[in-house]
């Protein structure tokens, strides 16, 4: 049996193991679950080395990307500033103090540092990610195209803005309001969230089923052909 056929065969086997969970949690599923976790961990570790730590950090740091010419001269001088990369590497090792009860506070330093990084980067993220959404919501309630009143776009914009404001109002936590009108706005906010949930549910059926259809096609065509090939 060729390696390609073996790959397809074990792929089908794994798929059936996962599907067997639908009936009940069983040993066949459990063995593949653990195998999957082991393989994913092994792949993840080497990938971090292969795609980041080696090419971007270690190789330049050790000067291994410098070519020595036959006459002994070098393609580029070694950049001493690269040695600074040792600092984050040592600092990152503090994570491992989490295991010692007495020194676990050292791990807190690097944890705090990482939390700080994503904290500091959030401000630029807000203005580039969310602010265009806010300004994108400034839709005119009366829309004219070629001097003509476009009632359909106007109606859509009115519904859009009404939904946006009522759902935002629903999420106010600290405004105490007894007035029935505002109570209605908040209730309609919740209804519109439900419409949004329903719409998303409907649109995700396509994605979920897409992969199930693809998996069944794989089992019925590719995998079945290999299994038959094994018997004959």
């Amino acid at each position: 049996m060729s390696w390609e056929a073996a790959t397809i065969f074990v792929g089908g086997l794994g798929t059936l193991a996962i599907f067997s969970f639908l009936a009940k949690e069983n040993p066949f599923y459990r063995i593949f679950e653990h195998l999957y976790i082991g393989i994913a961990a092994g792949f993840g570790i080497i990938l971090t080395l292969k795609s980041f730590l080696w090419p971007q950090i270690l190789q330049p740091l050790l000067g291994l990307d410098i070519q020595t010419y036959p006459d002994g001269t070098r393609s580029q001088a070694y950049e001493p500033l690269l040695l600074l990369y040792i600092v984050p590497m040592l600092f990152g090792l503090l994570y491992y103090f989490i295991f010692s009860a007495r020194h676990s506070w050292l791990a807190k330093l690097v944890i705090g540092f990482t939390l700080g990084i994503s904290g500091g980067a959030a401000f630029k993220g807000f203005f580039n990610g969310t602010f265009p959404q806010i300004t994108g919501s400034f839709k005119p309630l009366l829309v004219f195209s070629e001097q003509q009143f476009d009632w359909f776009s106007s109606l859509s914009n009115i519904v859009f803005i009404a939904t946006l404001l009522s759902v935002m109002y629903y999420f106010f936590f600290s405004f105490r309001s007894e007035s029935r009108a505002l109570g209605k706005v908040s209730a309609s906010g919740r209804w519109l969230i439900m419409v949004c949930c329903g719409a998303y549910f409907g649109s995700t059926v396509m994605a979920r089923m897409a992969l199930l259809v693809e998996r069944l096609q794989f089992l019925m065509h590719d995998w079945w052909r290999v299994v038959l090939g094994m018997w004959t």
Partner: protein, 287 residues
């Protein structure tokens, strides 16, 4: 009183509902999707001989390959037919094998269709491989004035300065189109946020899974993306347009998949109706 149907019975119903059409390879013409037609036009009008490249990001794994894979396939094929150099990369680790396999598979198919023409690595496409670091990678690409120096090597370890495609690519301005294919939460946002400078922002087109269609529409509506492929339906209609333009093109699997999905939807709708009938029946019986 009809007890609730055991979930295993429902799983069986779904299994049967899907397997039957697939066994007979039954397929119908896909529904026309406006956004896919506009994207086809946009790629069709791209200038092809100016050395500028299309950056294609495959940010999907085995879990999203059915939708994003079909979309990336039809768009990369269109770019290759128009001889626009494609630079592939990914910010998602699981995309590694697709970065290698997909362009090669398309090139092979094109070479079968046009025996006298060549599509080869280095001149028609290159693979920068998976890049760790998320938004920081894009930020560095946007800021860099010498991309070959910043990105150093491609996924196969070749220095970028060696590859013909990179001879004319120096800054973000040399990327005339960015195609981002993903269904991952928040992945498109970092391309929109960080792959730009104050002077230049490459047009970004997006292939989303059907779950992220509603978000994608927010970005299409606010003009942050210039084109959209919606799930397999988008890919199936794009593929239909490609087949119209070049009749010798083999039918790809998005058409059969699209039909199988139609049947799957009908099964879900039937179950929703069944669920309500059981409830009504029980309520009337208990009165």
């Amino acid at each position: 009183m009809i007890g609730a149907i055991d979930r295993r019975v429902i799983y069986l119903l779904v299994l049967l509902g899907l397997s039957i059409p697939l066994l007979k390879n039954y397929s119908v013409r896909p529904a026309p999707i406006a956004a896919a037609a506009n994207l086809y036009q946009l790629v069709e009008e791209l200038p092809s001989a100016n050395g500028r490249v299309a950056l294609i990001a495959l940010d999907y794994g085995p879990n999203l390959v059915a939708e994003n894979g079909s979309q990336a396939r039809v768009m990369i094929e269109h770019l290759m037919r128009r001889r626009i150099p494609v630079v592939l990369t990914a910010l998602y680790a699981q995309a590694e094998p697709y970065l290698e396999a997909l362009p090669q598979e398309i090139a092979n198919r094109l070479m079968l269709e046009f025996p006298d023409q060549r599509w080869t690595y280095g001149t028609d496409w290159i693979n920068l491989g998976y890049r760790v670091g998320g938004f920081q990678v894009l930020q560095s690409i946007a800021k860099s004035d010498n991309l070959a120096n910043l990105l150093k090597k491609d996924a196969r370890g070749n220095p970028l300065t060696e590859l013909p495609i990179f001879s004319k690519v120096h800054t973000l301005k040399d990327i005339m189109l960015v195609g981002e294919f993903t269904g991952l939460v928040g992945m498109l946002d970092i391309y929109l946020q960080f792959l730009q400078t104050a002077e230049y922002r490459p047009p970004i087109v997006h292939g989303c899974t059907s779950i992220t269609i509603p978000d994608a529409y927010i970005f299409l509506d606010s003009g942050q993306i210039s084109g959209l492929l919606e799930g397999i339906a988008g890919a199936a209609w794009y593929s239909e347009l490609l087949s119209k333009a070049s009749p010798a093109r083999a039918i790809d699997e998005s058409r059969v998949l699209n039909t199988g999905l139609g049947v799957a939807h009908l099964v879900v709708i039937a179950l929703m109706i069944l669920g309500n009938l059981t409830m009504l029946w029980n309520r009337r019986r208990s009165e």
